[in-house]
């Protein structure tokens, strides 16, 4: 069964950018899909009517005007979002699955492999990279599908974005995510930048000495006593809590719990005043 309907397209698309598709190279299209290996350049694909361009990652410039057409799940009729390459002995098997079927498939194979000794090579691979256990997403950390599924459910306390949403869109939801998902982001950020400690300029807040480490890990009640304006910490996670408070306030209003809504509103005002967001 063909998963996609190719529309015959010009080879000159590849020649035009001076760089034909190559095996072993990594490409990313502007919808966030990453492909490794041969990009079929003689065919054109459409994906939801959107014209995609593929960028050769090592050069960071578009090399192919190519669009992906109606990649359907192999087990149902929904669009395929997981593209898995199984490297079995001697054979390479490509799977295109929608979210649910992919989850089933991966959980299934994880169950199958948990019987034998866990030599670390038992995870299924994706996009041709062996023994990494990576699902689409930039994690680069060896994780089983089960662990990843659990991690995906975790959400930010403030803005509510789930880790799964972040992995799919590549963007975080609010500043608090960097605190909430600090451990998971660390290897990712280390991969991107080669360093994980900020060395550059810092905001010059009132009375904040350089090198002073504020208590940004606090997760105590938002109603805790707030120190005075003169002791503003350099990190702004305290202020970011307003995002969560605003969300709670809206929910409280929707549930007609006006008492709680009022408390939230007062807490928000106090914080905003402390950080001098109100008009002076």
């Amino acid at each position: 069964m063909q998963q996609y309907t190719p529309v015959a397209g010009p080879k000159r698309a590849a020649a035009r950018f001076g760089c034909a598709r190559r095996a072993g190279e990594k490409y990313r299209c502007n919808a966030g899909l990453e492909i490794q290996g041969e990009l079929p350049s003689r065919t054109r694909y459409h994906w939801k009517g959107v014209r995609l361009s593929f960028t050769l990652l090592r050069l960071n410039r578009p090399i192919l005007e190519c669009v992906w057409y109606r990649m359907k799940c192999q087990q149902c009729d929904k669009p395929a979002v997981f593209h898995i390459t199984e490297l079995e002995s001697g054979a390479v098997r490509e799977l295109h699955l929608c979210e649910d079927h992919a989850r089933n498939y991966l959980n299934q194979s994880e169950l199958n492999q948990s019987e034998g000794p866990d030599a670390g090579g038992g995870e299924e691979s994706e996009e041709g990279s062996p023994a990494a256990g990576d699902l689409p997403g930039p994690l680069g950390v060896g994780q089983t599908a089960g662990e990843l599924a659990m991690l995906d459910q975790r959400a930010c306390d403030m803005c509510g974005i789930t880790f799964f949403e972040f992995r799919n869109q590549g963007r975080l939801g609010c500043p608090h995510d960097y605190v909430q998902f600090e451990n998971e982001l660390e290897p990712l950020i280390g991969n991107i930048h080669g360093g994980t400690e900020h060395a550059g300029r810092r905001p010059s807040r009132a009375a904040a000495e350089a090198g002073k480490q504020p208590n940004e890990q606090q997760s105590t009640q938002p109603q805790a006593e707030l120190p005075t304006q003169a002791e503003l910490p350099v990190g702004t996670d305290e202020l970011t809590r307003v995002i969560g408070m605003r969300r709670e306030m809206k929910e409280a209003i929707a549930c007609e719990d006006y008492e709680k809504a009022r408390e939230n509103r007062d807490a928000i005002r106090a914080l905003e005043e402390r950080w001098s967001l109100e008009e002076r």
């Binding site: 950018f17 001076g18 760089c19 502007n30 361009s53 960028t55 090592r58 050069l59 960071n60 410039r61 578009p62 403030m158 803005c159 974005i161 869109q169 590549g170 963007r171 975080l172 939801g173 609010c174 500043p175 960097y178 605190v179 982001l185 990712l188 950020i189 991107i192 930048h193 080669g194 360093g195 994980t196 400690e197 900020h198 060395a199 550059g200 300029r201 810092r202 905001p203 010059s204 480490q213 504020p214 940004e216 350099v234 990190g235 702004t236 996670d237 202020l239 970011t240 307003v242 995002i243 914080l271 905003e272 950080w275 967001l277």
Partner: protein, 359 residues
């Protein structure tokens, strides 16, 4: 300053008067900042975005640098005006095409532009003509310091300035230089250059930044990492590489003149000829041909055209500029015809009113 008055001037990046401006078109420094008490733009609701936009606009207006800025509400602009700003490199393509409340504040010299609600809440950009990264960095530092006094930037002691995309976290700085490298393209050394740049973690992009093509032999070199180094080190990292590239390009040009004079002269002359006599011409082709002619002028192969003229043409033949200049909206085919007419008139030079004055 309305948009119409901008059409009279040429903009900063094509002014062509900075150091090394035969090869370096512009130097640009960009800082990505977010306010701490709202979600990032991608997650913010429509109302959030409007509130962020209003908050930033009001706060920026209270600082000295903010008072010298012209404010433009991009969300309510016509498409052609948005395209116009993109061509001027004052806003990015994403900013023009996005939805929701967003705006930009620009200074009169068109050197400083503050984008509100692009990928991050606030993107400060400073652009100088020619090779002047240090000057751009000093200017943008002042802007950042002033705004930081009235806006609480989202900051983490370990991760630095927090941004929507982890690829920008830390310093949030993007240092980039726009180079014109036609000789390296002709001598097919450009791929080698890219590879070596990539090894020292510098990114190469086309004329309009991320996701754009290298039209007209213009390339943007920028840093890829933003965390772990100071801003000065990143500025130096890019700044140190540029003289090397300039050297390569100059040597490639010399090589072309020495070894293949006939060939290069022919290519350049053909480009010049087409520009002067075509009846319909696309923007892309115009840019390619102008790039050749520009190199021809710099190599001394074409005598009767000035570099500043080429720069004027590079900006005025772009779609939105062309339409605003003629004061009429045109579809693609008509634009190509109009562009060709504009070029013919310019090179002939004696039609009354054909040559618009350059400020």
């Amino acid at each position: 300053m309305k948009l119409e008055t901008l059409t009279q001037s040429i903009g900063e990046w094509l002014r062509g008067t900075g150091p090394e401006s035969d090869i370096v078109m512009s130097s640009r420094v960009r800082l990505a900042r977010n306010v701490a008490h709202y979600p990032f733009v991608g997650r913010a609701s429509e109302q959030d975005r409007a509130e962020i936009e209003r908050f930033l606009r009001e706060r920026i207006a209270t600082v000295p640098i903010g008072q010298g800025l012209e404010y433009i509400d991009v969300g309510h602009l016509e498409e052609i005006d948005r395209q116009f700003l993109v061509e001027r490199q004052l806003i990015s393509r994403e900013h023009a095409d996005a939805q929701g409340a967003r705006s930009v504040a620009i200074d009169r010299m068109e050197q400083v532009s503050l984008m509100i609600n692009e990928e991050d809440h606030l993107r400060i950009q400073c652009m100088h003509s020619g090779l002047d990264l240090r000057g751009a960095w000093e200017q943008i530092k002042v802007v950042d310091d002033q705004i930081e006094k009235v806006v609480p930037y989202a900051f983490h002691p370990r991760w630095g300035y927090l941004t929507a995309c982890p690829t920008n976290v830390g310093t949030g700085i993007r240092v980039s230089v726009m180079l014109h490298l036609p000789a390296l393209v002709i001598t097919r050394q450009i791929d080698k250059v890219f590879r070596s740049l990539h090894k020292i973690s510098l990114a190469v992009r086309g004329l309009y930044g991320e996701g754009s093509q290298a039209t007209g032999d213009f390339y943007q070199i920028s840093n890829q990492t933003t965390l772990g180094k100071t801003e000065e080190e990143l500025v130096e990292q890019v700044g140190d590489v540029v003289p090397v590239l300039i050297d390569y390009e100059r040597r490639a040009r010399e090589f072309l003149v020495r070894e293949t004079q006939q060939n290069v002269h022919d290519q350049v002359s053909r480009a010049y000829g087409i520009l002067r006599t075509a009846q319909t011409i696309s923007a892309e082709e115009t840019m390619q041909l102008l790039s050749r002619v520009r190199m021809g002028v710099l190599l001394g192969l074409i005598g009767d055209v000035k570099i500043s003229d080429i720069n004027v043409l590079l900006v005025r033949t772009q779609p939105a500029h062309l339409q605003k200049l003629r004061g009429v909206e045109l579809d693609s085919n008509d634009r190509n015809i109009e562009r060709a007419r504009y070029l013919r008139q310019h090179f002939e030079g004696d039609d009354a009113g054909a040559r618009t004055s350059i400020n």
